[in-house]
Amino acid sequence: MPDVAVVGFAQAPNVRSTPGTTNGVEMLVPIFAEVLERTGLSKEDIGFWCSGSSDYLAGRAFSFIAAVDAIGAFPPIHESHVEMDAAWALYEAWLKIRMGEVETALVYGFGKSSAGQLRRVLALQMDPYVVAPLWPDSVSVAGIQARLGLEAGLWSEKDLAEVAARSRADATGNPAAQVSGTVEVADLLDAPYFADPLRAHDIAPVTDGAAVLVLASAERAADLVDSPAVITGIEHRVDSPALGVRDLTRSPSTAAAGRALDLDGVELAELHAPFTHQELILRDALGLGEQVRINPSGGVLTGNPMFSAGLARIGEAANHILDGSARKTLAHATSGPVLQQNLVATLEVLS
């Protein structure tokens, strides 16, 4: 089975609201061009295309069909779509290269969160018979999770503010970030609650965005870029949706995915944690020690484009291999209410 490597990554600016349409075409066309130019590939060189998005975010059926227009898919292409974060589209593309069906793949994700009221839309991910009719909004559900950890003594409000302050400071180096800057933890703690015990800084901002990533077999990748980021492991798991049957202060699916990988020597990790306390849950689930740098991009607390944020974590983690600033990195993506579904990947320098 051929190894698979990331050879290029691009993302649209993480903005509060794009003037573009819900199908992402305006955000996708420029970044397709950017990533193809960077890898020296043309549309015809791509063996497989796969995307991740959500009809509910777009407020319409078949929203991904119009996104295909951004490709210019004629002559016809080999293409597929997951109704998930595009990190899982990457997983499907990874399979296609692993099984030897194609040598290259382009993966993209897009989401216009601003088209609706995001936390209300996400309530519709819950059980439609007994939970969703109560409209449990996603921020409040995360607040329950944060409260459980506070009461169990697993973290303090100051711990959470420190995550937020570090993320914003790191995001000053990320031109795509929506939120960045130097802030004092004490000032953050003076802010009012948004959904007790969560304050605004604990919550990823509503973000429109898109991301694109190019994969190639390791053999092909070596011809395309100097230092391909080889995916040395990729695993994903799901947990029960019933909030009352699992310990919300832990992430068993992340832990299980991490256990299936070799995490020794990971230098930095891009974690998809839309709430400050979730970063702490994920660090614990993956056993990431103090020596591992967390979210040097600023993470999704500084820009959380739905359905491409997980893919962007893989892209950010790959960039450190591509530019030679790290030898082994970790990327994580999440989906569903309060870290229900999780994907973990390790990326390394081609040996």
């Binding site: 509910y56 004629f74 016809p76 597929s80 998930m84 399979l95 099984m99 439609p128 949706p241």
Partner: protein, 387 residues
Amino acid sequence: MKHLAAVLGTGQTHHKAKRTDVSMPGLLREAIDRAMLDAQTGWDDIDAVVLGKAPDLFEGVMMPELFLADSLGANGKPLLRVHTAGSVGGSTALVAASLVQAGVHKRVLTVAFEKQSESNAMWGLSILPPFQMPVGAGAGGYFAPHVRSYIRRSGAPDHIGAIVAAKDRRNGALNPYAHLRQSDITVESVQASQMLWDPIRYDETCPSSDGACAMVIGDEASGDAVSGGAAWIHATAMRTEPTTFAGRDQVNPQAGRDAAAALWRDAGIIDPLSEVDAAEIYVPFSWFEPMWLENLGFTDEGQGWKLTEAGETALGGRLPINPSGGVLSSNPIGASGMLRFSEAAKQVMGRAGDYQVDGARIALGHAYGGGSQFFSMWVVGSAKPGS
């Protein structure tokens, strides 16, 4: 390079316009439990779950695989959700197969469903996003001009569509799971039914069904262990083209022709008409049988209807098409493609009951979606590829 993969067992629900007796989890378990039993597989043997369905707006649940994780037996395992419009049931099966073909897993459960009665599919399809051409015609209104164009180009006589409808519905009467089971339907009765979108009559259209389909797909060792023989996956193909652009051939789309060419090449099939024993083709409106016969390369362009008229696509004919009754007999949209794939598998496993094609060794499963721009297909065989 690819690992061998095979269908170990299949299951489906009874299809009806409204399955008010079950919730979504209950509907899925009806298909899954039958597939697990048919595959003689226990939950501990399942390494991953792949779920497919058409738009979330059809049931009014955002990413239903998340709330279904419990009933899918997916907790603690990998779960993927595929969505490629009407071709999704086929694409979902192909993603499940690729998990085995890539050597990642030994046994994968895949399931596709649509519970259209939970919401209103026509409402789900009728939202008008800004800056896009409204269709506003329903699926029949969208496809009727393509059918008229086919008739004009091929010179097919008027009654071909009725032949297909009568054949598929009579086949459906042999299938205990089919939604419509009309053993007494005739070409004449189809022709006497209400005209909906000229030239498509009421009896030439698919029903709107609640239903689900599931399969267990396994590796070579698992396939070898299937008593009576597994359905070995010989080749798979998917292709996509944009919905609308000047000069697009919507009667005989390039994406379908390209997918079929790749499929036959990878399956080592030179003359599909003589080498394929049974075909389950996505025919939601009767005239799509001759159209897809040509698009798939079973006949030259303009010749597909002659095979239908000669009765060669009926059970006992040269190429039985939709022996299960097809989409014209049951159409739970998200599951319809997987039903075609699983019915093809049942044929080569010899498990198709009263609609079994005698001696079927090679079968085609085919799905398409959207405005005929997404195609997904596989060839399965009773023997391993190349043997």
